[in-house]
């Protein structure tokens, strides 16, 4: 064993400064609980943006309501902190208004799958070129620990004192069936893997959905803890073919072992491309119509 080299704080700070990562971070101090998975996600997003050299002013982070609400405030990019459940349609509006922007929607399981659940299929099927980072801790953290749509059956919370009787949703399976063109799963406890997947998600041209498993260190001491998740998560099989939707769905359907990695990716027309095509068609429509009329007229005398 080679003894580890000591790391000096000053050197590390220099390294961080030179990396350019700090440009993406605001000076506001995060309000999350110590140990919260959102720190990993912030770090992962900052790393990915840094690596991809995306300008801060060309980046827009859109959040809804929940523990992710304040995510934009901790980034030094454009941000829009919107309403509970509405991050996706607002992000869609931003992207439609300006295709040049890199738009990232962030939110939790309650924001995304409870109140905002109706918007996800439509963002997915339109293939709007944004990235949706969904932070799933199976609980309503900001309102202090109520049951959520991804809470396990049997979970006891202030609003399910006699155990949660509802079955949890399977977000990955939903997204795959909604036609999301990029679906992956990461874990807050694997920050480097998370960071890589965020980068891939940002690079994907189309709607990319990254499901991030994370503990709520404050309100869930029993179910989705770091200890439990550390033991449970696995990487997808090395042989998993991310162009095989059926394989991706099989993996997603296996809820006994949360597997991490890129489930599925396909290249298809994005909303922006579709709107450009419509514009081109509309501009050419007159020509097409006239051409056919002429054709018909020429035929008429015979």
């Amino acid at each position: 064993m080679i003894p580890e080299q000591p790391v000096y704080l000053e050197d590390k700070v220099d390294e961080i400064r030179q990396s350019g990562r700090l440009a993406y971070r605001s000076t506001a101090l995060p309000t999350w609980c110590p140990g919260c998975g959102y720190y990993s996600m912030t770090e992962g997003l900052v790393n990915a943006l840094t690596e991809l050299r995306i300008k801060t002013e060309d980046t827009v982070i859109v959040s809804g309501i929940g523990c992710a609400s304040r995510f934009p405030f901790f980034m030094d990019t454009y941000g829009f902190h919107t309403l509970h459940g509405r991050a996706l349609p607002v992000a869609t509006g931003v992207k439609v208004a300006n295709d040049k922007l890199t738009v990232v929607a962030v939110g939790g399981d309650g924001d995304g799958f409870a109140i905002g659940g109706g918007h996800i299929p439509h963002a997915a099927r339109r293939n709007v070129n944004i990235t949706y980072l969904l932070f799933d801790n199976g609980i309503y953290g900001l309102t202090k620990g109520q049951v959520s749509p991804t809470s396990a059956t049997g979970f006891i919370t202030p609003t399910s004192p006699f155990q949660n009787r509802d079955a949890p949703l399977n977000p990955l399976l939903m997204l795959l069936s909604y036609g999301a063109s990029w679906v992956g799963q990461a874990y807050a406890g694997w920050p480097h893997h998370l960071s890589q997947l965020i980068r891939q998600a940002l690079e994907h041209p189309g709607f990319s959905y990254l499901h991030v498993l994370s503990p709520c260190v404050t309100f869930d001491k029993t179910d989705r803890t770091y200890q439990n998740l550390d033991l449970a998560v696995r990487e997808l099989d090395a042989g998993h073919d991310s162009s095989d939707l059926a394989a991706a769905m099989r993996a997603a359907a296996d809820t006994s072992t949360p597997t991490l990695g890129l489930y599925y990716a396909e290249m298809r027309e994005t909303l922006g491309q579709a709107l450009d095509l419509i514009a081109a068609r509309a501009a050419g429509a007159q020509r097409i119509k006239r051409a056919t009329t002429r054709h018909r007229r020429r035929k008429a005398p015979a």
Binding site: A28, K55, T56, E57, D58, T59, V60, I61, V62, R70, P72, F73, D76, T77, Y78, G79, F80, H81, T82, L83, R86, P89, V90, A91, T92, G93, V94, K95, V96, A97, N98, K100, L101, G118, H119, P121, H122, R126, L271, L275, I278, A279, R281, A282, A283, A285
Partner: protein, 605 residues
């Protein structure tokens, strides 16, 4: 002296008779000929079947503001549908009907048995003429149109052009058939002795050219959007606003604009706010039910100071109510809808031209005042046609409103800087130095969450203070008085589509010698209290006519001015009844006389 023209023609038939189509040709031809046209069609609520259709068109030399309470001419293409409408024709007006129906009718089922003594009958073998002219009975509607044109000596050329334009996209034989049917009716009309006293004079020549277009309120809104350079539109279909999206879906892409049909109204307003935040000229359109869903997101627009335009066409409520009937019962929702003190701008145009102007100006106002602007109309205005005179180049394109305030983009950029007029420098994503996070949380000048009492107090003031300036905006007449000047007996304070009927009623009341005037109020929020109060102070009695049960505008005005007004509510689903309004004016004028005598009595005693 040139004959004055002001006639209203109703064509009534069933859905299969081409009633609306022929009404459409009629109004376009009359607009082409240079008349002013205003028209409102009645469709069956059901999609299928042979429900009743009525096309009503008023043509005139001078600007008119509503349909008339009666028609001068009624054409029946289907007697069973038309018989109940015989009574809307005035004495010495005309009723034109088919004298040779295809099959035998039951006793009482022919319209000739239902004419009132004052009506003049024109029994025309419509079906036979159609068959003679075209070999088929399908052109009955056009034969009847030709008869009207011939009887009243309307310019044949304008009809020929309108018919050709109508069938332009179809095979040439279709237009030829229609022209043959028209000419046959025209010939018959020209050789028919005119007993009625319906007069059509020559159209008035217009001074400064410009293009004449027939537009519905919805069409005019779409037109205004395009003139204002709309970039994005997000919408969800809902009667009666859908026409706006349908028109824009055709026109926006041609100009590089982007339109997305969203999954619901919440997504529509969310994306609109998102696009507005990102710097695009963005709009959505809906009706009351959709507006109710949008209320929360509008609050975010107010809080985050995001420009957005929301077109709302009201229909009968509450709940699903009467989707194909008109009402003005979403004023409360438009002005107050949502939680918190969320002041916004609400504009209510009163006619089709106003729809165009308000639509175009709404974008400018939204950007200048950094707030959602609601343009509130109703089904009656959405669907009615009027001639709109487009003049010169449009001046509705965006101006650079972003650069207000002193805080320049840079290190110390403050998106929500407190300024004298409440307007802060606005930067949009993509601009370096303007980075900020917009939020629905109460925030400081930088946009950082802050619930300090002073901050909330100052920011609340800022958000409302800037709207005060909106009343000084010069692109639209927010109020305008018509009728008698100075002190008057009765004043009508009207908004939206009802203003047209209000003004018609005032003009009739003035003929009866009642001193009265009507004021239209186009800006509903913030309410331009000063001119309204000045008007009310001139009136012995102020009537507020509205198409709702509770008097939503009356409540708003009397609350704001602290002055009582008389409510004239009409909640039937139909436009305001001019005669009903006229009666209200007469009663108010009488009451005024009575109060004069009662006050003078004590002095005598």
């Amino acid at each position: 002296m040139a004959k004055q023209t002001d006639i209203q023609i109703s064509i009534c038939g069933s859905a299969g008779d081409g009633t609306i189509a022929v009404g459409d040709i009629f109004k376009r031809a009359m607009a082409r000929a240079g008349y002013r046209v205003i028209a409102f069609d009645h469709y069956p609520a059901e999609i299928r079947g042979f429900g009743k259709c009525i096309s009503r068109t008023r043509i005139s030399n001078n600007q008119v503001y509503s349909m008339k309470s009666y028609s001068d001419v009624l054409v029946s293409l289907n007697d069973l549908h038309a018989i109940p409408h015989v009574g809307e024709v005035r004495d010495y007006g005309a009723i034109i009907y088919d004298s040779a129906p295809m099959s035998a009718v039951a006793e009482g089922a022919h319209i000739s048995g239902h004419l009132m003594p004052g009506h003049l009958p024109y029994a025309l073998p419509i079906r036979e003429l159609s068959e003679l002219a075209t070999g088929a009975n399908r052109s009955r509607n056009i034969v009847a149109l030709g008869f009207i044109a011939g009887l009243y000596q309307l310019p044949q050329q304008a009809f020929h052009q309108a018919i050709a334009a109508k069938f332009e996209a179809k095979a040439p034989a279709v237009a030829d058939t229609a022209l043959a049917a028209f000419d046959s009716g025209f010939k018959s009309g020209s050789s028919t002795y005119k007993f009625d006293d319906v007069q059509v004079g020559r159209p008035r020549a217009r001074k400064n050219g410009g293009e004449v277009r027939m537009m519905t309120g919805n069409g005019a809104i779409a037109h205004g959007c395009l003139e204002a350079g709309i970039e994005t539109f997000f919408g969800y279909p809902i009667t009666p606003a859908t026409g706006i999206m349908e028109r824009l879906a055709v026109e926006m892409p041609r100009r590089g604009g982007r339109l997305v049909q969203t999954e619901d109204e919440i997504a529509a307003i969310s994306a609109t706010i998102g696009a507005g935040y990102a710097g695009a000229r963005a709009a959505t359109a809906t009706s009351g039910p959709g507006l109710a869903l949008m209320a929360e997101m509008l609050g975010l627009g107010v809080m985050a100071e995001v420009p957005a335009v929301v077109f709302v066409s009201q229909r009968g409520g509450p709940s699903t109510g009467m989707p194909t009937k008109t009402e003005q019962s979403d004023l409360n929702l438009a002005v107050w809808g949502g939680h918190g003190d969320a002041g916004r701008i609400v504009l209510a145009p009163t006619n089709v031209e106003g729809c165009r102007r308000c639509a175009a100006r709404a974008f400018e106002m939204a950007e200048k005042f950094q707030v959602p602007v609601i343009v509130l109309i109703d089904l009656y205005l959405s669907n009615r046609y009027e001639t709109v005179f487009l003049q010169g180049e449009d001046n509705f394109l965006p101006k650079n409103w972003q650069r207000v305030g002193s805080s320049a983009p840079g290190d110390n950029y403050r998106r929500y800087e407190l300024t004298a007029d409440g307007l802060s420098p606005r930067c949009v994503p993509g601009e370096a130095g303007g980075i900020h996070t917009a939020t629905g949380l109460e925030h400081d000048e930088y946009g950082r969450p802050n619930d300090n009492p002073d901050v909330h107090s100052l920011m609340s003031e800022k958000r409302h203070e800037k709207l005060r300036d909106a009343m000084k905006y010069r692109g639209i007449n927010f109020t305008k008085r018509f009728g008698d000047k100075g002190k008057i007996d009765v004043g009508l304070l009207a908004w939206g589509s009802t203003f047209g009927e209000a003004l018609e009623a005032v003009l009739l009341a003035r003929e009866e010698g009642i001193r009265c005037a009507a004021m239209k109020v186009v800006m509903i929020s913030p309410l331009p209290s000063r001119p309204i109060l000045r008007f009310c102070n001139d009136c012995q009695q102020v009537l507020v006519p509205e198409l709702n049960y509770t008097g939503q505008f009356a409540n708003l005005v009397s609350g704001e001015l602290g002055r009582p007004v008389v409510r004239v509510n009409h909640a039937t689903g139909a436009p305001m009844d001019i005669n009903y309004l006229l009666t209200a004016i007469r009663n108010a004028a009488k009451k005024k006389l009575r109060s004069k005598t009662t006050t003078s009595n004590p002095t005598k005693a």
